[in-house]
Symmetry: C2
Subunit: 409 residues, 2 copies
């Protein structure tokens, strides 16, 4: 079985579906800068740098592609500079495939103080009716685009679907996302509907602007554009979004928006049952091993996540028995590798006690080593998941792997 | 011409003297963990880690040996742990030769708040007679050793020559230094004399303790012990120290103590005219290219320095035309490498604009890249110096190189 979509240097080939009852699948995305075997974890290089880790280490541990952030790079150093430098990959010394997200998420979170709002959402006792107006006040969405303040210097900026495309075109990644509006779980249903209509109009405008840019720069390698499916926690809206977007000539799709962890699999399934099987599907910003299994099981091909470096900088490591924190006193004299038997650079060459020492000594290479381990851990988990789809043992792997990982947590 | 001192796995071979009138020389130090072609720059890994840089990069740029700090590692994680981990090199994943300094400098600087005193010394208008009593109050030196407070938690500790040897023996470096007393340029002559007598007594005790430790652990690779020449800015004391220490069975020598930059060459010459030609000589803690030329010209074989990583973390880079700061606005859109034509990892793969961006974005890999460049810059300068001694063109190199470097500063 092999289905593929070919589009001037970009195509997706589906190699294997796990079973009739599962949406899990294995394939390969080909881009002008190389191929990505799917399912694949896309490591995050928000500001055109994987935090603490030089790209050679990412390459050595098997990272297939990196994802950077249009919002951050638009504010600094600017897309023109990255373009002049030869594009995102050349700028940050990463020869492989790259993604950029649309900036929609950041414009409506960082650009509005929304992070504060989101953390208030999860606190108990906060009247959620207050949250939406607060967000509206900070980043102003209209039918044409979003006004927001830079989180760096507070200056006012405006993002539109056209500008997001121009920025992403300038950055030069292989896979781009259409500009979308991020909603919150606390936005009322009527607002979610209204927002979805806007996101769909913006999808069409993103496609149109991208066509114009491609035509104006025929010498450029093909940049694939993925449409983003919103609709929050509402089945009808998610299905409506998937149906609408399926009809548009996107090269692939992203599933975005606020997702409650408990609903992740269900929401992804609603969408992926509708999206065309021949196009790749990316889940934006998930984080934990159980989420990865659930996403893949429900038809996701690629996903990105900042967790491996974020938890690594804070002293934490993934292990087959759950997450551990190397700054804990009990690792002070522990000369074993972080994960005995792990073949990553960190575990092959350093002890828990050494990493513990680096954190106590405030040596940032401690975070480097754990970030390398954590990226390798997730990448090799996804490698195993891919193999288990091909060999038909996905559910065995899921049961064994998650059983051990969550037994201790 | 070839002279060598062989001592169970450690020896120094002198290959070439530049001329009769100069003390500059080229040779090789052989240690149980590999050889060091001299003159050599020894990169600093204070707390068993080169700041921001993983050891593979140090190896790739030609670092021959790393120097760590007995004081820091004694306080944390402790010499026992490093010993249990297989020694300093194994602990920090550095397979080559290693040095540890005695802790004398840090005990009397960090361990006493002396850094503050030293910076007051260089300020104008400070009554220097106040400084010495201040230092005495903070770290208490007696004939047997030094009481000091940990700069980490303020706890009281005591270092003696015996403890310094035990700590360094446990750390397991290839080249160790005898425990010495650091004096200040503002200590009166009479105190310098008294201190020198103490340092010499401590040298004998260091040798004795090291012999005992070697005999107790015959299975261990040979650890060379270098005696430290003190005497501040006084010719008679420096010559007296060199004469005294020359008679002791050290494997090599370190030149330590407060040095005014303008007197560096003279002081090193006083000492090296007396020290036996057959043993290697290390200059502790110099920093700038002109100091390197002056040290080598006056008979220094190895020297260590934190500057390449320290200035790199702060955004500065060595270039043939002097030091530049990449955080300056003028590099914001500059797509050239830090040093055009430089073959280091940083200059081969990244632009000034990218590094500028990383610093503005607070991505610590900016400091990593500049540290790599700076370490390579100094290491390759010393490589050139070594070749110029062998080919007899040292003074041409010195004139051309320093003329260009300091023209702009």
């Amino acid at each position: 079985m092999s289905q593929s979509v070919i589009n001037q240097g970009f195509h997706f080939t589906l190699h294997k579906r796990l079973s009739r009852s599962s949406l899990a699948r294995a394939g390969v995305i080909v881009t002008p800068h190389g191929s990505i075997k799917t399912p694949a974890f896309i490591a995050v290089a928000t500001k055109a740098a994987v935090k603490r880790v030089l790209p050679e280490y990412m390459y050595d541990i098997g990272a297939q592609a990196l994802l950077a952030n249009a919002y951050h790079l638009y504010l600094q150093p600017g897309a023109e500079l990255v373009e002049e430098a030869g594009g995102l990959g050349r700028f940050m010394n990463w020869p492989g495939p790259t993604f950029t997200d649309s900036g929609g998420f950041q414009v409506l979170s960082l650009g509005s103080g929304y992070k504060k709002v989101m953390s208030m959402e999860v606190s108990e006792g906060v009247d959620s009716s207050l949250l939406v107006p607060m967000r509206r006040r900070l980043a102003v969405v209209d039918s044409d685009g979003v006004n927001f303040k830079s989180h760096i210097d507070g200056r006012l900026h405006r993002f539109t679907p056209e500008l997001s495309m121009q920025v992403q075109h300038g950055l030069g990644a292989d896979i781009l996302f259409a500009f979308d509006e991020l909603t919150s779980l606390h936005d009322p249903y009527v607002y979610q509907q209204e927002s979805l209509t806007r996101t769909h109009a913006w999808a069409t405008r993103s496609l149109k602007e991208m066509s114009r840019l491609r035509a104006a720069h025929p010498e450029r390698p093909y940049q694939a554009l993925f449409g983003v499916i919103q609709g929050a926690q509402y089945e009808d809206l998610r299905r409506q979004a998937a149906t609408y977007m399926s009809k548009l000539p996107f090269d692939g799709y992203g599933i975005g928006g606020a997702l409650e962890k408990s609903q992740l699999g269900m929401i992804v399934r609603w969408v992926n049952e509708i999206l065309p099987e021949s196009k790749p599907r990316h889940l934006l910003g998930i984080s934990e091993p159980d989420d990865i299994f659930i996403a893949v099981e429900n038809g996701i091909d690629t996903f990105d996540c900042v967790s491996p470096t974020r938890i690594g900088r804070n002293g934490a490591a993934y292990t087959p028995d759950g997450r551990v924190n190397l700054t804990a006193k009990r690792y002070e004299r522990d000369l074993q590798p972080v994960v005995p038997g792990c073949i990553c650079y960190c575990c092959s060459n350093y002890s828990r006690a050494y990493i513990h020492h680096l954190f106590k000594a405030k040596e940032v290479t401690g975070g480097t080593l754990l970030s390398i381990h954590n990226e390798y851990f997730i990448i090799s988990l996804v490698d195993q998941i891919r193999e288990s789809i091909v060999s038909g043992t996905f559910f065995d792997l899921k049961r064994t792997w998650l059983g051990r990982y969550y037994q201790h947590t």
